[in-house]
């Protein structure tokens, strides 16, 4: 059983890393976005291997179902990017690679070094807390222990939402740029009416 899981883990890890590599190397940005989605799926599968079903499902729901689609939308709606197949890597890609690797190492190495490995699995004496995988536990922790963080995140999201609305909201008077025939007609009539209203005044002025 363990062997099976390790094989699966290896395959998934290879998939995630391979897909991530493809994201930065393929020429077409749409393809790159699709590889990103593959990578997300791999991560979700990894969560499943860890028996964190909820997180896995949320990963799919949020990353694949929402973020990836957002990315795709953004790419496709801006036509200039999607239509060209030019190489995404610049000529100094190796420099970037070194920097990225260095940063990654700086974060990862201490963790790897400081981690004590091979902890035996907590084999259920009654007092041990259940792992945070279930919805119910998650919910309880959100309104219990992590209330502050939860609230802060909530406020942040609300602010972001309001900001998005502000950006997207056009002024009511500017909303419909293309006038329909009847609107044009009404407009012309009103203009004529105002012109007619002003015209006698103007002549009166001249007369005066």
């Amino acid at each position: 059983m363990d062997l099976l899981i390790q094989i699966i883990f290896g395959l998934l890890a290879a998939l995630i890393i391979g897909a991530a590599m493809m994201v930065v190397t393929v020429r077409n940005i749409i393809h790159s976005a699709l590889w990103l989605i593959t990578s997300f799926f791999g991560v979700a599968a990894l969560y499943l291997v860890l028996e964190a079903e909820f997180i896995a499902v949320v990963q799919v729901l949020v990353y694949v179902g929402a973020i990836a689609i957002l990315i795709l939308f953004a790419i496709m709606l801006t036509r200039h990017i999607s239509s060209e197949g030019e190489r995404l890597l610049t000529s100094r890609w190796w420099l970037t690679a070194i920097v990225a690797l260095g940063l990654f190492g700086a974060v990862l190495l201490p963790t790897l070094a400081g981690q004590t490995w091979n902890i035996p699995l907590p084999t259920g004496p009654a007092g041990t807390p259940a792992p945070l995988s279930g919805v119910e536990e998650l919910g309880r922790e959100f309104v219990g222990q992590f209330l502050l963080q939860f609230e802060v995140a909530g406020i942040l999201l609300t602010v972001a939402l309001i900001g998005a609305i502000v950006i997207a909201f056009e002024e009511r008077s500017r909303r419909r740029r293309v006038l329909t025939l009847s609107e044009e007609y009404t407009l012309r009539q009103r203009q004529q009416a105002t012109a007619a209203k002003q015209a006698p005044v103007a002549t009166a002025d001249v007369a005066d």
Binding site: A168, E170, T180, E183, Y185
Partner: protein, 369 residues
């Protein structure tokens, strides 16, 4: 503000809802139409020149092919034009039969047109199937009288080709039982349906004055609030003997066009009922026996028009004294009603284009001629 790019889309010439080979070159900004240019002529066969090499009678079946939905109305307009040119009298009975056929055609056309319109809005054929069912019944009647369902070729100069068969009247009376039920049912389906209201209310508005300026005719003109009906404005045939109302709209949008068409079906039914009453007393036979079919009208020109279900259908004929028309011009309602299409669609969404087009009710055979 977000800057967007305009996109050009060709809707047609091969497209499910352009009612034939018709192309609309649409410029869209997002889903909003900024410009629309109708492009047609794919079905152009120079009908008018074909008519110049045919004799007057030989043109009769060609008029069937103009608006193939309403061949009877086309025949009527052409027959009136030639009769006016050649001075042919039409017996009273023949006139009644003609009006009967043309009013049946009107019901048939509107039933079909509404069905197609709702189909364009995305319904899955149900309303169209109901309309087509009633249309089939009327076509059965046409078939028994004229011998053909669509290309009736029923009218002759001075009358109609043959009298109504014996079983025509009983079947017509049966049909008149079903017709109000059908119209009521159609109204129940269309009139208050929220989806349909959303799709048709305020869409494709053509204000009253512009409707006149754009020379649109028929239900489109009436939906814009102009009570102009050739049957009332310049009564031809025996239309001055019937009581019927002219429905008009108040806004001029797609919804008004639907309502006007429904009401016109009712009025046609009224006319048909009056015909059934008056027909037995009508004088004369089904055709003027003195009328020569191989007419040789005197030199001159003439314009005659009828209220075809789609609008004013006119024929302008110039005779040089021979058996063939020197000039034969069709004033086709579908063609002229297309004029405001581009302007009417501006500012609406892509999905509205097909609805507006459907509400104009065109037939490409008539547009391209």
């Amino acid at each position: 503000m977000i800057k967007t790019e305009e996109l050009q889309i060709n809707i047609g010439p091969q497209h499910p809802s352009t009612h034939g080979v018709f192309r609309m070159l649409v410029t869209v900004d997002g889903e909003t139409i900024t410009d629309l240019k109708p492009v047609f002529g794919y079905l152009h066969r120079n009908h008018e020149q074909i008519a110049e090499v045919n004799t007057y009678l030989q043109n009769m079946p060609y008029t069937d092919r103009l608006d193939y939905f309403n061949s009877m109305a086309n025949n009527h307009a052409y027959a009136i034009a030639v009769e006016k040119l050649a001075g042919i009298e039409v017996p009273e009975r023949a006139e009644y039969i003609r009006v009967l056929m043309v009013e049946l055609t009107r019901v048939l056309n509107h039933a079909g047109a509404l069905g197609f319109l709702i189909n364009d809005m995305g319904a899955w054929q149900t309303q169209l199937a109901f309309g087509m069912r009633e249309r089939e019944k009327i076509l059965d009647l046409f078939e028994s009288a004229s011998g053909a369902r669509l290309m009736c070729n029923y009218f002759r100069f001075g009358g109609v080709v043959r009298d109504l068969p014996d079983d025509f009247m009983p079947r017509l009376k049966d049909l008149l039982v079903a017709m109000p039920a059908f119209i009521d049912e159609l109204e129940r389906l269309l009139r208050e349906n929220e989806i349909l209201l959303q799709r048709s209310e305020g869409i494709g508005i053509l204000p009253r004055d512009l409707a006149i300026a754009y020379s649109v005719t028929g239900p489109v003109l009436r939906a814009s609030g102009v009570a102009y009906d050739v049957r009332k404005a310049e009564p031809y045939s025996v239309y001055d003997r019937f009581d019927f109302d002219v429905p008009v709209g108040s806004v001029g949008d797609v919804y008004d066009r639907i309502l006007v068409r429904i009401e016109e079906m009712r009025q046609s039914k009224r006319i048909i009922e009056q015909i059934i009453e008056q027909l037995p007393d009508a004088q004369g036979g089904h055709i003027n026996p003195k009328a020569r079919q191989n007419v040789r009208p005197p030199v001159g020109d003439v314009y005659a028009r009828v209220e075809s279900p789609k609008g004013e259908l006119g024929f302008y004929l110039v005779s040089d004294g021979s058996t063939k028309p020197y000039r034969y011009k069709v004033r086709a309602p579908s063609f002229i009603n297309l004029t405001p299409l581009g302007d009417m669609c501006r500012g609406y969404k892509v999905a509205d284009v097909v609805v507006i087009l459907g509400s104009i009710d065109i037939v490409m055979g008539e547009v391209d001629r």
